[in-house]
């Protein structure tokens, strides 16, 4: 497997705050890599360093075989970057926005490529509309089209679906999977763990460090625990009881608890006993495969 991005001990501080604390990992060709974590984990800072908007305090990276610190200009020709804000010229039309980005990338005869991209993002009917007059989802797709006009080998997407409605979000993911088919490597950040599940590999990031970096399945397996989902009533009392009287990791989701245990046979009776003593009614229970969310919280608590 050829790795297109090699991150080596990248570090960035903002005064006292260490935003990114010496992270290292690699992103392979043709994969969709997800950098996952809560707000303030250092995801955006990492990405901004990789696209050349921020200079790292320490460490380096190699992107498409070019050195990030010394060959920034070579990298710029071959990557695309979609910032969180889908920055576009609101007073230019869809066509004009794409044309402008084609021009500054030095793309000649961009018309055909533009038509493809508009077709691909289903923006063709709106091509003469000003960007300011587009919906959030359409803005996002236009911004993506602008970053794709010069056929980049890697695209960096910073929380691309934040603030986009669910339908547009699904559309967007379809577009991304088509890009993957074309061999584009995607590096994205996301705070949503359901989106992370769709990535070929993820890096879980928290407080500037990488907690785990693997395929979603391997990450989940690495937890080596079973998760029992218990629907019960009153759920808040149950949550507080489990939290106070046992060492189990417990999360509350609406009317149910997810309790992570080492061994169902041994641990479940303890919980059941606790419930009975406190007159909590158990309505239903089942063993579920841990979600990335379970895993994330498990690792964060460690």
């Amino acid at each position: 497997m050829e790795s297109l991005i090699k991150i080596k001990n990248l570090k960035k501080k903002y005064g006292e705050l260490i935003a990114v604390d010496g992270v290292s990992y690699e992103v392979n060709k043709g994969e969709m890599f997800g950098l996952v974590g809560p707000d303030g984990a250092g995801k955006t800072t990492t990405m901004r360093m990789l696209v050349g908007l921020l200079n790292p305090d320490e460490g380096n990276a190699e992107i498409l075989g070019h050195d990030l610190l010394t060959q920034k200009n070579l990298i710029k020709d071959e990557i695309g970057y979609l910032s969180q804000r889908f920055s576009l010229y609101g007073d230019l039309s869809i066509d004009e926005n794409i044309e402008f980005f084609a021009d500054i990338h030095g793309v000649k005869n961009f018309e055909q490529r533009r038509n493809e991209l508009l077709e691909f993002t289903r923006l063709t009917p709106f091509r003469d509309r000003l960007a300011d007059k587009l919906s959030g989802g359409m803005k996002q797709k236009l911004a993506l089209a602008c970053t794709l006009i010069h056929k980049p080998k890697i695209i960096f997407l910073d929380e691309p679906t934040t603030g986009v409605d669910p339908v547009s979000r699904r559309d967007f993911w379809k577009i991304l999977s088509n890009l993957l088919k074309d061999g584009v490597t995607i590096f994205m950040t996301t705070p949503y763990l359901d989106e992370a599940e769709r990535c070929s590999r993820v890096a879980l990031m928290d407080k500037g460090s990488i907690i785990s970096c693997d395929t979603p399945k391997n990450v989940k397996d690495s937890m080596h625990m079973q998760v029992i989902e218990i629907v019960c009533n009153p759920v808040r009392t149950a949550y507080n009881m489990v939290k106070a009287s046992t060492n189990y990791e417990v999360q509350m989701y609406g009317d149910r608890l997810n309790v992570a245990v080492n061994n169902y046979e041994q641990d479940y009776p303890i919980i059941k006993d606790l419930f009975e003593k406190n007159s909590i009614v158990e309505i239903d229970k089942r063993i579920i495969t841990p979600s990335l969310e379970n895993v994330f919280i498990h690792f964060m608590n460690k």
Partner: protein, 376 residues
Amino acid sequence: MKTIYEFIIKELLQLKRDKKMMAVIFIAPILQLILLGYAANMDVEIIHTAIFDQDKTETSREFIRSFEKSGYFSIDYYAESYDEVTELIDKAKTIVTIVIPKDFEKKLNKRETVSIQTLFEGSDGNKSSIALGYIQAVTNRYSQNIVSDIKDKYGMKLPIAGSLVPEVRVWYNPEMKTRNYMVPGIMGLILMITTLSLMSMAVVREREIGTLEQLIVTPLKSYQLILGKLVPFTIVGFVVMLIVMVIMTQWFGIIIRGSRLFLLFASLLFVLSNLGWGLLISTISKTQNQAMMISVFAVMMPMIYLSGFAFPIDNMPQIVQYITYLIPLRYFITILHGIVLKGTGFSSLWPEALILFVMGVGILTLSALRFSKKIE
């Protein structure tokens, strides 16, 4: 090269779409010039006058008539007491009150010297001093007439007193109209306001909407970005300049005596430093509002005050006068006055032009360096 060209096209397109901005850029200067052209008029045309005639004789009335005849004085009030005079002054009804003493006729007949008291409402010092000049002129003529009357009447030989009569000839602005002097200055002001504030906001706007970041990630070089911003605003500056020149000549009838080509060339030099300042402000500001406030209060207002447009530089304290040497507008206004009023050309205005060029290139280079360093 092509990239810069495309960037310029994009800028002009955006400008064209921004209807409000277009109105501000092209209509505001016209209104400003017309308004200021009329408002910035310090000529004193009518002096509102009150008379306190204590003498009330044939001679005193004749003396008052000589003021009326001069055409500058409008005698609005006749006061009967000093209290009334004070009240008129307090209420700013008159600029000047002339008090004729009781023994006016008697003394004159005895060929004695008479003193006339004139009281000024001096809150506008400029106006009062002009009024004073007129009063002296009228009084002088009146006393000369008395002398010649006496000569005629009595055929007396009066002692020969040499009298000097200055024959005043005003060059360059023969009507001595403040407007002729102010309007070229306003032209400089408008050119500065338009180009400086446009430039300062343009770069910050890209930062505000996030496109600046997007541009940094592309292979676009910072010099291409800067040129892409400079050229469109230089074009805008020139169009504004042409509009203002047309109004100056057609509306106000102020003739440009010197070379229009040199005027435009000097404007280009002046625009350089404005764009440089604008770019510098945009490297300091985070938002368009900040950029606007900084350019108005920290840059443009001091420049206007120190340029000699509003107050004569010669009247400023020495230390402040040194500071004015750093103000590009000062040199541009000198050039404008030179070309428009005096018809002087490059041969006598080249030092100012050279200074503008050096300043423009200097500040532009400085801010361009600061800008590129900031985005890398």
